[in-house]
Amino acid sequence: MNRIETKFKELKKKKKTALIPFITAGDPDLKTTKALVLEMEKRGADIIELGIPFSDPIADGPTIQEADIRSLKHRTSLKDALDLVKELRKKTEVPLVLMTYYNLLYKYGIKRFVAQAKRSGVDGVIAADLPVEEASELKRYARKSNLNTIFLASPTSPSQRLKLIAKESRGFIYYVSLTGVTGAREELAKDLIFSLRRLKRLTNKPIAVGFGISKPEHIRKIRRYADGAVVGSAIVSVVEKNLKSKDLVKKVGDFVQRLAQSCY
């Protein structure tokens, strides 16, 4: 078992929903990212997703696109993120998931990526544009190293695909709450609860819901039907609004704490 699987087990006993915040590595710089990870853990984050910026993030809305641009200004790379995780592992055991687009992994070399991710202390990986059908190479190496491959399931996935996604996912299944790109939304998708119940019936693996989840009340509404909530753009917005503030890390921490309180 790796850190993600252990964490979900532990939370299940406590009847707590996993809070999974997302930030873009290197936004605005790697030093801040490191401080943010530690702060978010302290404030109640259970698993943390680190985005590796890509020049063409087709699954992301404007908030994360802008974060990627800020991070790419100083050319944050996959290697930087792996080094950052290695650093973080001296201080924390919080499960860490890298989220990116497949070209960055492909260019780095899948075998090399998996080996170094594992060595650095990465627990899971998500590639937003990698459906299960194309993931055989990543799966092959990741399975051997016990690096969790987390796949996305979406409202347009028919049952047959959902079953396949559930079967191939390790750690958790990432359910995309809506048809669309990442970004904070006012309301949850109307069919979300229905879809989560459908997915629950097909699998015993933990389900985390992301895309659009942006406030405590969203988490409260889904927590009976999902095991975790991923909050990305809403947190990145707090980073964006406080780029010039000395309190950036604290402000993000405050927001994460509010979200964490809705997970019990």
Partner: protein, 395 residues
Amino acid sequence: MLPNKKGYFGEFGGRFVPETLMSALEELEKAYSSAKKDKGFQKELKYYLSQYAGRPTPLYFAQKLTKKLGGARIYLKREDLCHTGAHKINNTLGQGLLTKRMGKKRVIAETGAGQHGVATAVAAALLGLECEIYMGTKDIRRQSLNVFRMKLLGSKVIPVKSGSRTLKDAINEALRDWVTNIRTTHYLLGSTVGPHPYPVMVRDFQSIIGKETREQILKQEDRLPDYLVACVGGGSNSLGLFHSFYRNKRVKFIGVEAAGRGIKTGKHSSPLLAGSIGILHGSESYLLQDKDGQIRETHSIAPGLDYPGVGPEHSFYKRSGRAKYVPVTDKEALKAFLLLAQTEGITPALESAHALAYVVKLAPKLSKNKVIIINLSGRGDKDVHIVAEALGVQL
């Protein structure tokens, strides 16, 4: 050449997209494969291609150009004479009819030069579909005539300000729209790029170019050509011409990539000549990227070629050696543009002028009994502003 079940030409292609798009791609693949076999669909498409788009287009023997270059006999496949002024309509009519067949009422598209945008807007008007076109703001500025045409045709043009503000970013934004409106919308992709089944489907819709060319050259020369030459951006006009000759190994395929200011300057759009293998916009293919896998900015005087990727079938052709790829710079393309205008009275699109520019170098080296066919994929009216600017003329 058919891709395998997963949409791979050799090792290139596939379907690298967010999960949300997967079921729509499966639906499209099914709809396309049933339409392909459906005589009614084919008949309807044929009707529109001939009665509406003006097919077949002529295969014109460029006598004066041949004489001037003093070598091989040069023919021009006149796709510039299609309705809307480029080959793009072959594909938009096909996908437009397919959209109706799938019961979708809205199409979106990306455009660089505006040719695919106009051809999509035309098909949408004709078939009664709602239409929104994504276009980078840099291209909106340099192809303003086409932007206005799209609007006149009842389409909405959505400016894309992100990234390099060209074709690549227009595709990103169209994909984001599609992920959002997947249930009601068909993404009418304009080139042989993207996730399976787009590369093979667009190639098939464009293969009418090569089918006609084959019949025409047999009639006019009583033989197959020695060379087929076409510009390669994403690859639709070139593959459209090449496809019907795939098995005739003596017919040489030459794909001309935009070398911009020169490959060495780094300011170009030549993924096959100067790129490496990676994944962009849904398929595995050659592309221009840095050592980390970030997509590089590109440059070409021809907006339709200003793209860091290329269709997977071209990558396969490169790998297998079936086609040869050559560079042509902005300057050479401009010179060829003027040459054709003044020898034959035809102003080609700057994209097509790249193919022509290579033939200017090739033809004199060949004997007079050799035959070259150039795909004159579009006309140059849209480019007069760029040409004027390049020549330092104020209009």
